[in-house]
């Protein structure tokens, strides 16, 4: 006697939300950097991975607190973001190196970070202590884990926070102005280089938190950033390059698409169906869900 169909669908809904929320978090970091700098930060997946390790290292000192763990992940990743900006992005920008060179330099940074993690932590998967991960709850026949709830809460808070930051605060407006047109922003008194550094740090911090949450939910390893990085990239294409709500919604759509494919078709179609959906959406809306066609007065 199997589970009832409604319960199964309810469980798949929960599965989709939980999966999609992590995808969204990963995508936000990409989209922030793309929006401000017009480049794809190929090291994002690896900063994501390091975020998980920062959290794990803190927890292994004996501090069993999820919020503290997330703060460590965000802080450590933010510092990595700052280093990325100073080492791999700013020098190229100074030389007006175009958009392809930083893409390649961030790939280099990503490979470096992965090797570094391999050296520091070894190739094996590690998991967070059970005490931190907690148990699970039953909800109308379906199962929700405590980690799911943490992911969803943290994800919603971060997205809300990011939205408030970008729409309500001076810093956020400066970030958006810098994203749209650095020259104009500078004429308004915005120290665009500093704003870019802050943006890259913020993106890295979001990536770090996403990594720690995924690590908490599953496992931590030096290669954990690769599949999530790939998903994050496709989501920002889906959501509209550089678009924040697009990244949030895009992540959820991809999460649901995967879950629904498994349920209705077959699990071997999981990735293919998700990417077919992406392709179809792009045929209908070439600039992504929330994409704008390139406007006059856009990025310089």
């Amino acid at each position: 006697m199997g589970a009832r169909a409604t319960t199964v669908w309810f469980q798949q809904l929960i599965n989709g939300v939980s999966l999609g929320a992590t995808y969204s978090l990963v995508a936000l970091g990409y989209t922030l950097v793309f929006g401000t700098l017009g480049i794809i930060n190929m090291a994002h997946g690896d900063i994501f991975m390091f975020g998980a390790f920062f959290g794990l290292v803190l927890v292994e000192t004996g501090l069993l607190s999820a919020p503290a763990m997330l703060v460590a992940a965000a802080g450590g990743a933010a510092i990595m973001g700052l280093l990325l900006e100073y080492i791999a992005l700013r020098p190229l920008r100074r030389r007006q190196a175009g958009h392809l060179t930083p893409l390649i330099s961030t790939i280099g940074v990503g490979i470096f970070l992965r090797s570094l993690a391999l050296q520091l932590f070894g190739p094996d998967s590690k998991s967070f202590p059970m005490a931190l991960r907690g148990g699970s709850y039953r909800l109308g026949g379906a199962v929700v884990t405590q980690v799911d709830i943490v992911i969803l809460t943290a994800g919603l808070l971060l997205m809300l926070g990011l939205w408030l930051l970008l729409s309500r605060t001076k810093l956020g407006k400066a970030m958006r102005a810098t994203a749209e047109n650095q020259a104009t922003a500078a004429l308004l008194g915005v120290n665009t280089e500093a704003i870019i550094a802050v943006t890259v740090m913020l993106a890295a911090a979001l990536g770090g938190v996403a990594g720690a949450l995924v690590g908490l939910s599953f496992a931590v390893s030096p290669t954990m950033g690769l599949p999530y990085g790939l998903k994050g990239l496709s989501i920002i294409v889906l959501g509209g390059m550089g678009n924040v709500p697009g990244a949030m919604l895009g992540g959820l759509i991809l999460g649901f698409a995967e879950v629904i494919t498994v349920q209705l078709l077959s699990s071997s179609w999981r990735d293919m169906a998700a990417f077919t959906l992406l392709f179809l959406l792009l045929v209908v809306k070439p600039d992504g869900l929330f994409g704008r066609a390139q406007q006059a007065g856009g990025r310089a």
Binding site: K173, L188, N191, T192, G298
Partner: protein, 234 residues
């Protein structure tokens, strides 16, 4: 208030400015006129810090600001409204105005916003619209309004009338005069030389990267050469 001393500048190997001297006294409107391609925009870019001069210096309020980045000059009160207006198209009208006051930390920003809305009722109507949806004239109003939000000491205006209907152009010139009368020093670049000279106190005429002529706006309005070359010989 603002001096440009022997500035040479260009783009790559192309020398555009071949030794420019300008002097903008406090409280005045100074016009910079000249044919298309003479180097007026390049001059403003050097003053605003968007382009590094190869020689010479820019002095603002008695201080050499030649090495300061653009954003620091804006914060010091030297506010540039570039050619083509450069509003932030994806941000709303109100956000554009708020960004004008980015460098300010005083409590009167809201008050100034109110004043800009009073001055430009069209902007108040469209305050929640993305700036990219405004008409050319409205965008120019927004660009000027945004500059005012910074409470500039010196306002650099690059062809504010470009591409606007005659009626709107007249309104813009009236506005510039009004802003000046309220105490803001203005360096005005215009191809519309006659109207510029009518509201300016002093003026420079640029030809191929050099100052060809200067004098009080009244003098230049009556100068034969200027009339023939820039005022359509009327």
């Amino acid at each position: 208030m603002l001096q440009v001393e022997d500035v040479r500048a260009g783009y790559g190997a192309v020398q555009v400015l071949k030794g420019i001297r300008l002097h903008v006294s406090q409280g005045q409107i100074v016009a910079l006129i000249g044919a298309n391609g003479a180097g007026k925009t390049t001059t403003l870019r050097v003053i605003a810090g968007q382009l590094r001069p190869s020689a010479g210096r820019v002095v603002f309020g008695g201080e050499d600001i030649s090495r300061r980045p653009a954003y620091a000059r804006a914060r010091a009160g030297l506010v540039h409204v570039p050619e083509g207006r450069a509003v932030l198209t994806r941000m709303t009208v109100q956000e554009n105005l708020e960004m004008g006051a980015y460098a300010r930390a005083d409590a009167e920003v809201a008050h100034d916003l109110e004043r800009v809305f009073t001055r430009f009722p069209r902007l108040r109507e469209r305050r929640r619209q993305p700036a990219g949806t405004l008409s050319g004239g409205e965008q120019q109003m927004l660009a000027i309004g945004r500059a005012l939000m910074a409470r500039p000491k010196v306002l650099l205006l690059d062809e504010p009338s470009m591409g606007l209907a005659p009626l709107v152009t007249a309104e813009i010139f009236r506005l510039i005069q009004e802003i000046n009368q309220e105490g803001t020093t203005i360096l005005l670049v215009e191809q519309n030389a006659r109207q510029a000279l009518r509201i300016a106190h002093y003026a420079y005429v640029m030809e191929t990267g050099q100052i060809a002529l200067e004098g009080s706006a009244k003098e230049l309005l009556n100068n034969r050469r200027v009339v023939d070359a820039y005022l359509g010989g009327a």
